[in-house]
Amino acid sequence: MNKKLDISPVHTDLETLLKKMYITMLRIRKFEEKTGELVSAKEIICPCHLYIGQEAIATGVCSALRKEDYVFSTHRSHGHYIAKGGSIKTLMAELYGKITGCSKGRGGSMHITSPDIGFPGSSAIVAGTIPLAVGAALSFHIRKKDTVSVAFFGDGATNEGAFYESLNFAALKKLPVIFVCENNFYSTHMTISDCLSDTRIYKKAEAFKMPGVCIDGNDVLKVFKQAKEAIEYAREGKGPSLLECSTYRWRGHVGPNIDLDKGLRTKEELESWMAKCPIKRLEALLLKQGILSKSETHQIEKEIEREIEETVVFAKKSSFPKANELQKYVFTEN
């Protein structure tokens, strides 16, 4: 980032916003690192798809949202949940399969929820939540609210028919939904060029006559600005947008390892992306602009680490669901 920081007029209290985004990204990073350790230690059993490396996207987008706006997530869900304001205590407890977990130990890492903050849930079926996000937007449209809905999904999800059907319907009805594609260039063991005939995902918006852009998904400010624009556009009733954010997942598809031994990607590729760490980038900016000092960032880091240790203590001392309550929550009682 060069010379004076210019991100006006996107936020009135710029410094607070930047600090908040820094804290959120760091919280996601530290939470995921801890989760990875706990998976390695076999403390956590459920499959965890870590968000490390992609923090700027959830953070940038959710920072531009209101609490009442809705966010829909995927199998790689922790970052979206944390950025929208979900409790990390109940998240950790969910990963442990405890009754105090956000989904009462029924869902695990891929199925987390916090309806009170506009996070109805994450789904492990690729592209499965894209139509749901459009549905929430439809309801805002019917009830003439200026609330918006966000669908987070990966590049792999753009292989599914549900993605295209959703884009068309949202554009047709001018629904207030923002399609945020986190392009990390891989869908499990396959690279994006093995999956898409045209890898420029943002271009697909054109076919539906909606705005589509591709941005650096490791630049939280860019993500914030672009999301803000799309959100405003949606609030004004102009319809959906497609935001492609390029990024990279540092760990393997699932689990804590970097998976270089699987022969799917090179060490050089991983390292080049690690050099573009979204958190380091914002930190450098904050230090340069004098918004935070080195000792302050250090203090923030310590504070977050402490907060995360607490989540582990909480999760560990919580009880497991009772086996005789297996069938609880199949139906709700009217």
Binding site: I45, H111, A124, A157, C195, K322, N324, L326
Partner: protein
């Protein structure tokens, strides 16, 4: 005889058939990956290349239709779904197109396709990564459904599925992959529509599917010590079902338990019970019992998983309860 594991038997069959028959090809998510489909497809891509071993984008619906379309021209495609849960996306192609085609066109065009679906559950994977959908496919007219429970059958039934002129849903189970058994080296078939008796007995018949066959065999030896001599039937094919074999056994033992790790309502076990009561009601001395999954989505927490999946103990307890409740009819047995 030579021993192979269940997974090696699948792998060998694919190698042999694809080698032998230029009309057979394999398409599906993860077919080139060493880990995505539990080593079932190891070595295929190196031997046959990417024209006949086709890894695909995450597009279940289209890919299933694509495979069916190729079968119209005389090929015998195998379309693989790494988890049954993902097959819901392919349901239109399977249930509306493929299953109906032959009948709908008055027998003018058959669809000789193998639709391979893998059951992959446990390990806290939760509701969207655990499903065993055999009953759903069994419900649909026009589909044959096979579910091999051991290495010998998995080879023979896969060959039969590929060479059947109808669509066959071939269901295997990752919980069976390490089971070792006799497997002839040469290509052979296990007939579709024929069950097998795994243990002869006189007191009670237990009919089981897939993974549950292994559990029932374990239960059988425990019950033997109680003095209960069970006859175990492995149905192997769910549709068309080997009614003759089941009826003959129940006529002899007068008691029936059906074990299937699918949901209770409208399940395989319900269907088999109905057939027995409809046809040979007079030979029953006790109510038919089902050892199945409760009508509940797969939970995440290990504690709930243990309560959810039926196990050897559940089979033993169910059989014992029948003999306790109906001791009067047992005549001298303890």
């Amino acid at each position: 005889m030579r021993k192979l594991s269940y997974v090696q038997a699948i792998n060998e069959t694919l190698h042999q058939i694809i080698e032998k028959d230029k009309n057979v090809f394999l398409v599906g998510q993860g077919v080139i990956s060493p880990w995505y489909v539990g080593a079932t497809t190891v070595g295929l891509i190196d031997k046959f290349g990417d024209k006949r071993i086709i890894d695909t984008p995450v597009s279940e619906n289209a890919i299933t239709g694509v495979a069916a379309g190729a079968s119209f021209t005389g090929m015998r495609p195998i379309v693989m779904h790494p988890r049954m849960d993902f097959m819901y996306y392919a349901m239109d192609q399977i249930a509306n197109q493929i299953a109906n085609w032959y009948y709908m066109f008055g027998g003018m065009k058959n669809v000789p396709i193998t639709i391979w679906g893998i059951i992959n559950r446990g390990g806290e994977q939760a509701a969207q990564h655990s499903q065993a959908l055999q009953s759903m496919f069994m419900h649909i007219p026009g589909l044959k459904v096979v579910m091999p429970s051991n290495p010998f059958d998995v080879k023979g039934l896969l060959v039969s599925a590929i060479y059947d002129d109808n669509p066959v849903v071939f269901i295997d189970d990752r919980w069976l992959y390490k089971i070792v058994g006799d497997v002839p080296k040469e290509i052979y078939t296990v007939p579709i529509g024929k069950g097998a008796i795994r243990k002869k007995g006189k007191d009670i018949t237990i009919v089981a599917t897939g993974w549950m066959v292994q559990k029932v065999i374990e239960a059988g030896s425990i019950l033997q010590k109680d003095g209960i001599d069970v006859e175990i039937i492995d149905v192997r094919t769910l549709k068309p079902l080997d009614k003759t074999l089941i009826f003959k056994s129940v006529k002899k033992t007068s008691r029936l338990v059906v074990a299937d790790a699918g949901w209770r309502t409208c399940g395989v076990a319900g269907e088999i019970s109905a057939l027995v009561t409809e046809n040979i009601f007079e030979s029953l001395k006790a109510p038919i019992k089902r050892v199945v999954l409760p009508d509940t989505p797969a939970p995440m927490s290990s504690v709930l998983e243990r309560a959810y999946y039926p196990d050897t103990n559940d089979i033993v307890a169910t059989v014992r309860s029948l003999f306790k409740q109906h001791r009067r009819t047992l005549g001298g047995k303890k």
